[in-house]
């Protein structure tokens, strides 16, 4: 067994090493992220069987909680960590094949992965803020890394909203700290019943905004399309597959484990469905495919949050299983979409639907992969999305909002419309021939394989997700496993 804390420590170390290596050689730094993330993955996997029931507690400086910072990994967090590291690893391989970049890019990338992993592994509220900030700041950098007008503008907008949002998040932490005297998540969760309602409400509001920015909740998500569109394709993948997933984890942890579904969840319920509808409507007539994908991404997050918030209506493990399935589907599906879109454009950054005409014919692989990505997001059978979509609908039904299924399906029909339009466009007419590099292609194929393999045989993912959902659902087990028997 290797302590998972090394995941963070090693990443930080490697991130620090990168600029130094950059002084030695231009080529060396790009090898650092894959190695680092691979090591991380191995560390995580070696801990796989250690995690059962509640959370696995990794203390720092040997002090038991609630005092001192510590990591608390339960299956839910573990799953997200695994997801983040896997996607991160694939992306790092992808960057190997890219043109030589500033070595600081690799540092930012590694920090980004580190931030996301830290968020899902930490058991300390303030620590999560720190990781959130690492995540955000590195994201600003990553979005801007293209250094052209669009990416810079997107980065700045993201920064403006992100900075204010995370500050409010910090304020929420402080409010909780003042009323409980603790920063440990489990401890706060334990003490939650003692806190007066008004404080809870206020803290909940602050968290809602802080996390809402991250998970692209409706009025706070205005930065998202701009940042997605401005960023380069792989970064967009990262935004949707890693960063927003970390946000989802945080939302689940804070609103469910800590607040135990108090008030804020109901707001999330309404905002989630509104986000879903507005984003899909906005995507409906969008001519810029990348921006369209961004809206779609927001919409999926909205649906995810909506399903998540249903827990306040009916306590059911299945709802959590569903959000995990949705998150996985979105991570891989949207990642595949952004990457294959990049392949279709051939790096020209011309995302308009007309300029993509016929690109699927000249680059068949990318066209097919784009189609697969779209299908999984649309929830077509034989793709993983089918199961997540059905699960989402079952969750909605279980919570008693059976007529909302109709609404969700109607809005999904918009998805069919705009994705179908793009698919049809890329397969009609004659396009310029572009080649996709072997590594690039194989990364996308791996994404697609995940989607198809688990679409055909979803059994393993189901059981894995179910276990993770149980870990999230049984918050008392989580608390006791960290705080010791009470």
């Amino acid at each position: 067994m290797v302590s998972p804390i090394l995941v963070i420590a090693l990443s930080l170390f490697f991130a620090f090493v990168i600029p130094l290596l950059g002084m030695l050689s231009k080529k060396l730094p790009r090898w650092v992220p894959p190695i680092s993330i691979l090591v991380n993955l191995l560390i995580l996997l070696s801990n796989m069987d250690k995690i059962s029931g509640g959370a696995m507690l990794i203390t720092t400086a040997g002090i038991k909680p609630p005092i001192a910072i510590n990591l608390a990994i339960d299956r839910f967090g573990f799953l997200f960590a695994l997801l983040i590291q896997t996607v991160g690893f694939l992306l790092s391989i992808y960057y190997l094949a890219q043109d030589t970049k500033d070595e600081r890019f690799y540092m930012l990338f590694l920090l980004n992965i580190l931030g996301a992993s830290g968020i899902v592994m930490t058991g300390d509220l303030f620590n999560s803020f720190v990781f959130l900030e690492i995540l955000e700041i590195s994201s600003f950098g990553l979005v801007a890394v293209q250094k052209d007008k669009k990416s810079l503008e997107g980065a700045f907008k993201y920064m403006m909203i992100g900075a204010i949002g995370s500050s409010l998040y910090l304020l929420g932490i402080i409010v909780l700290y003042l009323s409980t005297g603790s920063l440990n998540m489990a401890d706060i969760a334990r003490l939650m019943p003692n806190i007066p309602d008004s404080i809870k409400l206020f803290a909940g509001l602050l968290f809602l905004i802080g996390i809402g920015v991250e998970v692209e909740l409706f009025p706070l998500n205005a930065w998202a399309p701009d940042a997605y569109e401005g960023a380069q394709d792989s970064i967009s993948t990262q935004l949707s597959s890693i960063i927003s997933k970390a946000g989802i984890y945080l939302a689940a942890r804070i609103f469910f484990t800590i607040f135990n579904g108090f008030y804020a969840l109901e707001v999330v319920l309404y905002l989630g469905i509104i986000t879903f509808i507005i984003a899909e409507l906005a995507a409906l007539m969008q001519k810029n495919v990348k921006r369209m994908l961004a809206y779609s991404s927001i919409g999926q997050m909205g649906l995810l949050l909506f399903v998540f918030a249903l827990i306040s209506k009916r306590a059911d493990i299945f709802i959590f299983t569903t959000i995990i399935l949705l998150a996985l589907n979105h991570a891989f599906g949207k990642g595949l979409l952004f990457l294959s879109l990049g392949a279709l454009t051939g790096g020209t950054r011309e995302y308009y639907i007309d300029s993509l005409k016929g690109s699927g014919k000249s680059n068949v692989l990318a066209g097919l992969l784009f189609t697969m990505g779209a299908f999984t997001i649309l929830g077509m059978p034989f793709f993983f999305g089918f199961w997540s979509k059905i699960s989402a609908l079952i969750s909605i039904m279980k919570a008693g909002y059976v007529y909302l299924i109709g609404l969700v399906l109607l809005v999904s029909l918009f998805e069919i419309y705009y994705y179908g339009r793009v698919i049809v466009n890329i397969f009609s007419g004659e396009g310029k021939a572009q080649k996709t590099g072997f590594i690039y292609a194989s990364i996308m194929v791996i994404f697609a394989l995940f989607i198809i393999a688990f679409g055909v045989w979803p059994h393993p993912v189901f059981s894995f997700a179910h276990k993770a959902a149980v870990a999230l659902f049984e918050r008392t087990t989580y608390i006791t496993s960290i705080m010791g028997g009470m």
């Binding site: 507005i278 409507l281 077509m380 299924i405 029909l413 059994h459 059981s463």
Partner: protein, 601 residues
């Protein structure tokens, strides 16, 4: 378990052709063998009453086979064979067979499904891969048509899903089972929603908009299966929805059935009218297919033993002759590379077998005895009159007259008239098409003379749900209104034909005239003179119909879509592009929530 294996065989065949088949011959052989294996499994092992469940963690897949499974399964498999035969001559690649076999998997799987989620899964599989098949298409318009098809079929699928969830919510059972005991009108909503995808698949107006384009723009061989085979799933769905899911529809909501019947009648009529206005063979056939499927809806809407038998039989007939027609057109396209009716003509001398196929195809489409088209139409009329809806009868009759119009236009424009000069060296359609044509001609006549073979099976399917009233044996049918002995009709016709031939041969002699030897007000015409009247065929009917012909569901739908687009534009306006505005949203949101919570703070 066999049911599962059958599906597996089809999927594996598809994958094999994808990976193993860089050589066309190999691919074709693998496809044929896989198909034969699967269908042999089906025919020998699938008996009514098999049950199989498979647990994939949260969902259980339930399979069950009934009489309807066997009936529709055999139709679909048979049409698929025709499709395969035609495919040998199509431009195909690995993905072609993969998509085709997965479509088949979905179609056969739907017949097995016992619970609604598996049903949806397999139904969507079918829709999805047939969409990809259309997307591969044959011309520039294919992607657009495919898109239309996708949107419509997904629309249907989602409606089905919504209905499924409503059903599960109200009855706590995901199985295909009765909902008529549910209180309130929600059961009607469920029925309507569950029926929607089938109305889409069976192209019932106003859900038909995808069909003409998708049929005409998909690969010719695939259209055979698309129209002949896949639309049967729609019919199967009617059966599921009206008999298995809402068993008491006739007593609870008789008007709903009337609406279906009338929609069917309107579909049959309007599609017939559109059909004879088309100038493209495949479009024409597409509308003809829609029109014929309208009769089936009428049969289900009448909801008596007679009418439902008629509907099933008509579905069977539709599979036979519509496949035949599409197959012939595919063969013709293979040779002359066009489906534009205005650019063909006089091919009868070059492609006699195709002509015979098309001729009997249209005879059956028009419902003339002694072909397969007649028993169902006869029975349907009797059923509608017995129901007492004379106006509907008239409407259906009108539709069947339109069948004569478009049938004639088709056969005339392709095979009759003057041969085009560039088609002088055209040969008969190749072996695959020819075999298919001959194979299809057999049931076309056999079932037309002895409909009892099929009616017996149909009766098994529905006698459980409706009081068996129709009297039949192998060759006759009896209703309270009348009685028909089909072979007698056939024999009378054949003997009359022989008699006429005798008269013909007794008198005089004939000589063979060249096509330029024509009455052209005694003008001399050369070989390349365009004598063929094919453009604006029935053009005068445009005047006869006048303005109403310009009305279309499509325009209505487009107006509706514009509304959504408008809303979409408004929604998009939220993302202004100015960062300060975004910040303002945040602040506003914060203030708003704070204000709302103000009381509680």
């Amino acid at each position: 378990m066999t049911m599962f294996y059958i599906l597996l065989v089809f999927i594996l065949t598809g994958l094999l052709t994808l990976f193993l088949g860089p050589i066309k011959v190999l691919r074709n052989i693998v496809a044929l063998l896989g198909y034969l294996a699967g269908s042999a499994l089906f025919i020998y092992n699938i008996k009514p009453g098999l049950i199989y469940s498979l647990n994939i963690r949260v969902y259980n897949i339930h399979f069950e086979s009934g009489f309807s499974t066997v009936f529709f399964g055999i139709i679909i498999l048979a049409v698929f064979l025709i499709f395969l035969l035609a495919s040998f001559h199509e431009e195909n690649d690995g993905a072609y067979y993969l998509f085709a076999f997965l479509t088949l998997t979905g179609a056969i799987g739907v017949l097995f499904a016992k619970d609604l989620i598996s049903f949806f899964f397999l139904f969507e599989t079918m829709s999805l891969f047939s969409f990809l098949m259309v997307l591969k298409g044959k011309n520039k318009n294919s992607p657009k048509s495919a898109f239309k098809y996708l949107v419509w079929s997904v629309f249907g699928g989602y409606a089905f899903l919504f209905g499924t969830f409503l059903k599960v919510y109200t009855t706590h059972s995901v199985m295909i089972g009765d909902i008529s005991f549910i209180g309130g009108h929600i059961k009607l909503l469920i029925l309507l929603l569950i029926l929607t995808p089938f109305m889409v698949k069976a192209a019932l107006m106003p859900f038909h908009l995808w069909a003409p384009d998708a049929y005409s723009d998909s690969k010719d061989a695939f259209t055979v299966f698309f129209s002949g085979g896949l639309s049967k799933i729609g019919i199967f769905g009617y059966f599921i929805a009206l008999f298995k899911i809402f068993t008491e529809i006739a007593s609870k909501y008789p008007w709903f059935l009337t609406v279906i019947a009338w929609l069917g009648g309107i579909t049959a009529t309007l599609a017939g009218i559109y059909a004879f206005m088309q100038d493209d063979a495949k479009k024409l056939l597409a509308y003809s297919s829609i029109s014929q499927l309208g009769y089936v809806a009428v049969g289900f809407g009448i909801y008596t033993h007679y009418s439902v038998v008629a509907a099933f039989f008509h579905a069977l007939g539709h599979a036979v002759y519509e496949s035949l027609l599409f197959l012939v057109v595919a063969g013709v396209y293979y040779r002359v590379k066009t489906t534009d009716l205005r650019k063909m003509g006089g091919l009868i001398k070059k492609m006699p077998l195709s002509f015979i196929g098309l001729l009997f195809g249209i005879i059956a489409t028009s419902g003339i005895p002694p072909t397969i088209g007649f028993p169902s139409k006869w029975l349907l009329y009797e059923a509608v009159i017995m129901k007492g809806d004379l106006l509907l009868t008239s409407l259906v009759f009108f539709a069947s007259i339109t069948a004569f119009l478009y049938s004639y236009k088709l056969v005339h424009s392709i095979f009759l008239g003057k041969l085009h000069k560039e088609h002088r060296d055209v040969k008969e359609a190749p072996l695959g098409y020819a075999t298919g044509i001959i194979l299809l001609l057999i049931p076309l006549f056999v079932l037309g003379v002895a409909p009892g073979i099929a009616v017996k099976h149909i009766d098994y399917i529905i006698r459980f749900y409706l009081k068996p009233e129709l009297g039949y044996n192998l060759t006759t049918m009896t209703t309270p209104l009348g009685h028909v002995n089909f072979p007698v009709v056939g024999i009378v016709m054949v003997s009359m034909f022989v008699l006429s031939l005798i008269i013909y041969f007794i008198f005089g002699s004939t000589y063979k005239a060249d096509q330029t030897d024509n009455y052209t007000a005694t003008e001399a015409i050369s070989d390349d003179f365009e004598l063929h009247y094919a453009g604006e065929f029935y053009g005068f009917m445009r005047k006869a119909f006048g303005r109403p012909l310009k009305w279309s569901f499509e325009k209505l739908l487009n107006a509706f879509l514009k509304l959504f687009a408008f809303i979409g534009e408004i929604a998009r306006g939220f993302y202004m592009g100015d960062a300060r505005v975004y910040l303002f949203y945040l602040v506003l949101f914060f203030s708003l929530l704070a204000y709302l919570m103000g009381g509680k703070l």
